[in-house]
């Protein structure tokens, strides 16, 4: 087995974050990532898609992080953006939004599910997530930028969600959720931090490499793809 390829699946570029997409990609490349997803919040989308020079061996995926309180509007937004993006993230944070996101198989990742006094997940939601193939996003930025009691809260929420994810076999994605260059961490450091926070080494590597790869292969069907379950593997002239 070769070296795993690492991806950062939630990076916010200007106008959502402080730095431009060029700066973030240059830094992520320097850190040794194989690809990042530029996923701005849906209320802060750039006017036009930035034109990026694509260096070899580095991929930039189109993504979006939907922010919407109303579940039926959220489903509408998912339908609107699904076709045009590679990675669709929902910004959770209330029971109804979490539920709507996890019950929709067109969603890829649910970020920040925690609210008030709950970690954001329970057995019902975890089961729904496993059934619909929605991954739970673990984000580094809040962990890095808080200290003391707030960080303790975040870590215990993370542990609770991890336990549920392990029990119901929900996939987990580890991302930086960076809003500036200074929030990005290199893959090795992100792994070390994740392991300190309670993930096993294998889980952490999976959360940064295989799970993102699966999401991309699901959303970027091959050239022979016709519909779900039907695919032309080899075209031969029969006549």
């Amino acid at each position: 087995m070769g070296k795993p390829q690492f991806y950062d699946f939630c990076v916010h570029a200007a106008p959502d974050g402080d730095n431009t997409a060029q700066e973030l990609t240059a830094l992520a490349r320097h850190f040794g990532y194989s690809g990042i997803t530029l996923a701005n919040h849906s209320d802060k989308l750039p006017q036009s898609r930035p034109v990026l020079s694509l260096p070899d061996g580095f991929e930039i995926f189109k993504g979006i992080e939907l922010v919407e309180e109303n579940p039926s509007k959220l489903h509408g937004l998912i339908g609107k953006f699904r076709k045009s993006v590679d990675v669709l993230i929902v910004h959770g944070g209330s029971e109804t939004v979490n539920r709507a996101a996890l019950e929709n198989p067109r969603v890829d990742i649910l970020n920040h599910p925690a609210f008030d006094k709950s970690s954001g997940l329970n057995q019902v939601l975890a089961k729904a997530a496993a059934e619909n193939g929605v991954a739970i996003g673990l984000t580094l930025r809040p962990l890095l930028n808080s200290r003391g009691s707030r960080r303790i809260r975040l870590l215990s929420d993370l542990r609770a969600n991890l336990d549920l994810a392990r029990k119901y076999e929900v996939s987990v994605v580890l991302s930086s959720d960076a809003i500036s260059c200074f929030d990005l961490r290199s893959p090795m450091e992100a792994l070390a931090l994740a392991e300190i926070c309670g993930l096993e080494e294998e889980e952490a590597i999976e959360a940064m490499s295989t799970v993102p790869e699966k999401i991309i292969s699901r959303n970027r069907p091959g050239p022979g793809y016709i519909r779900e379950g039907v695919e032309v593997l080899e075209e031969v002239d029969y006549f």
Binding site: N19, Q22, E23, T25, A26, L27, H30, F31, S53, P55, L143, L144, N145, R147, G148, R151, S180, C181, F182, L184, R185, S186, M188, E189, A190, A192, L193, E195, I196
Partner: protein, 129 residues
């Protein structure tokens, strides 16, 4: 006092790092922040087991020493560093080794530190094409 026998000395790992920071950062500020982030993330007990020391820091590059069994914890606590003297910063570990000589040769000698002004990098990428 008599020096400890080599076989009795604690084994160490040396981490080469580069610092990406908004503004100038002094060695003392760096040491202070590294220690405080380690004790905040790991707690004082584990941080003491890590035996973290900043050995040298010059030109945005440097070497940090830690216990050879606690590299992971050290890495995590260095990753948790977000600010130095009030300025936003990231510490990027270039590699680890068991001797200072090797870590310098392998990672620090011809390493160019990533420019905080990143426009130059993307400019260069564009020029290369």
């Amino acid at each position: 006092m008599k020096r400890l026998l080599p076989s009795l000395r604690a084994k160490k790992r040396y981490l080469a790092f580069e610092l990406i920071c908004e503004g100038p950062a002094s060695r003392n500020d760096l040491i202070k922040e590294v220690m405080s982030s380690a004790s905040s993330l790991l707690g004082d007990v584990v941080a003491s087991e890590c035996d973290i020391k900043v050995l040298g820091f010059e030109d945005w590059k440097g070497i940090i020493q830690c216990s050879h069994t606690r590299v992971k914890e050290t890495r995590a606590s260095l990753a948790a560093l977000t600010r130095i003297g009030g300025k936003r910063a990231t510490l990027h570990i270039l590699g680890t080794s068991g001797t200072i000589k090797r870590v310098t040769e392998k990672f620090l000698q011809d390493h160019k530190v990533f420019e905080p002004k990143i426009e130059t990098e993307s400019q260069r990428l564009r020029d290369d094409r």
